[in-house]
């Protein structure tokens, strides 16, 4: 994570395009009161509301392009 703060406070990085990145294992409390735990070194939480794996980001925030002629576009090849 860039610009890590010198104090031990947990870093939360708000991206301008999609998820919020939270460092360290986290316990996430959902609106219905249930808990989801993530043990990843960094967790990406969905903020665009389009993820099908909420509360986690699944890259659904990415811009969609209609023509796959826009070559360079790797998403088409995998």
């Amino acid at each position: 994570m860039p610009d890590r703060a010198p104090d031990p406070a947990r870093q939360v990085l708000v991206t301008d395009e999609g998820p919020v990145l939270v460092s360290g294992p986290v316990d996430i409390v959902l609106p219905d009161g249930s808990h989801v735990r993530s043990d990843r070194p960094v967790t990406a939480l969905c903020t665009c509301k389009r993820s099908r794996r909420k509360p986690f980001c699944d890259t659904s925030h990415r811009r969609k392009v209609r023509s796959s002629n826009e070559e360079k576009n790797n998403g088409a090849r995998h």
Partner: protein
């Protein structure tokens, strides 16, 4: 953290069958010690012979082969041949990948999703068959059973924040301290759930040049410090494109009603790589280029060359599947078998014994 499953004894895979004069000489030299090695000139840099020769020489730096002394990894004659073969491969890639040092534009192009794509995961998600999923996984096993290993070589060549972030991603690939969550281990679990042989190197003979070339490119960039920028570009390509692709493979497996143990590997990658994408862009590439701006063109080269090789692999799969043929050199038993009356260079007539039973049994 300790894993829950028993530790398997380490067994080096057997040497593969040669595919031409270069690979025959390499395999013979690994077995018996180098004598006179042939020149690399003239071998197709993307062909089976050169790619298998390279793959075998690289494998000496990972796990080696049964019956081959470990010291042959650094035999000067074999190292010289490896460098000559990889220079031929590298020259071919440099000639195909248009040069650019605009890393932002290159990354931006990877971050849009087509509404309708054409690669193997799109086909598998929409109307792939079970035998095609098995072929895909068998070929991917060459990398995924050593997932993250080729990229680990670059750690020592990075410094500061780029190194820390790359290690964070690698740590996650290695299960973040839990051996049961190692991605290579999840891949092996998926292979068994698909009745595939999960022993290391089991599908080397079956894998075509296009599958070997993708792994060889990682090994090449991992082993050469001069290509550290390209390695980071290759790593970024995988991490940036894997999430949506993995999601389509999850769809394919669910549609085909494959076991949950098979689905887990790609399901894990949807979430993990959504995080890795962010870490690679913000944590690795940005500080790497701030520290070493001259590497920009190599980062782009790594992205473009991995893209070209991924396209070649994908095209081979789709071309064969469209003709209802196996994309492997030796089809699995549930795949369409080659017609013995129509010999085809890419479809050897002698189908290899099936590897659905673990070789150790």
């Amino acid at each position: 953290m300790l894993g829950t499953s028993p530790v398997r004894p380490v067994e080096a895979p057997p040497l593969p069958q040669p595919r031409g004069p270069l690979s025959a000489a390499v395999i013979d030299a690994l077995r018996r010690g180098p004598t006179l090695l042939p020149p690399v000139d003239g071998a197709d840099p993307h062909g089976d012979d050169l790619q298998l020769a390279l793959y075998c020489l690289y494998e000496m730096h990972y796990r080696g082969f049964g019956g081959v002394p470990d010291d042959r990894e650094w035999d000067p004659a074999l190292v010289a041949l490896r460098v000559a073969a990889e220079n031929a491969f590298l020259d071919a890639l440099r000639a195909e990948a248009d040069p650019s040092d605009d890393v932002d534009a290159e990354i931006g192009a990877l971050l849009v999703e087509p509404v309708e794509g054409t690669g193997p995961s799109w086909h598998l998600a929409k109307d792939g068959e079970r035998w095609q999923v098995r072929e895909y996984v068998a070929q991917r096993s060459l990398y995924h059973l050593k997932e993250a290993d080729p990229q680990a070589w670059v750690i020592a060549r990075l410094d500061g924040p780029a190194k820390a972030a790359l290690v964070t991603v690698e740590h996650d690939e290695y299960g973040a301290g839990n051996p049961d969550r190692m991605h290579a281990r999840l891949f092996a679990d998926m292979m068994r759930a698909l009745d595939l042989d999960d022993s290391y190197g089991a599908y080397l003979d079956a894998a075509p040049a296009e599958a070997l070339a993708e792994v060889n490119f990682m090994s090449l960039c991992g082993l050469r410090r001069a290509l550290r920028g390209a390695l980071v570009g290759q790593f970024a390509t995988v991490e940036l494109t894997s999430s949506p692709g993995s999601d389509r493979l999850v769809k394919a497996m669910r549609r085909l009603d494959l076991p949950e143990a098979a689905v887990e590997f790609y399901a894990e990658h949807v979430e993990a790589d959504a995080v890795h994408e962010q870490l690679v862009r913000r944590g690795v590439i940005a500080p790497l280029l701030a520290a070493e701006p001259a590497l920009a063109a190599d980062v782009v080269f790594g992205i473009r060359a991995s893209g070209l090789l991924a396209d070649r692999f994908g095209e081979r799969l789709l071309r064969h599947w469209a003709e209802h043929r196996s994309s492997l050199r030796h089809p699995l038993p549930d795949a369409p078998q080659p017609d013995a009356t129509q010999p085809d260079a890419t479809q050897p007539d002698a189908a290899q014994p099936d590897a659905t039973q673990p070789a150790l049994a």
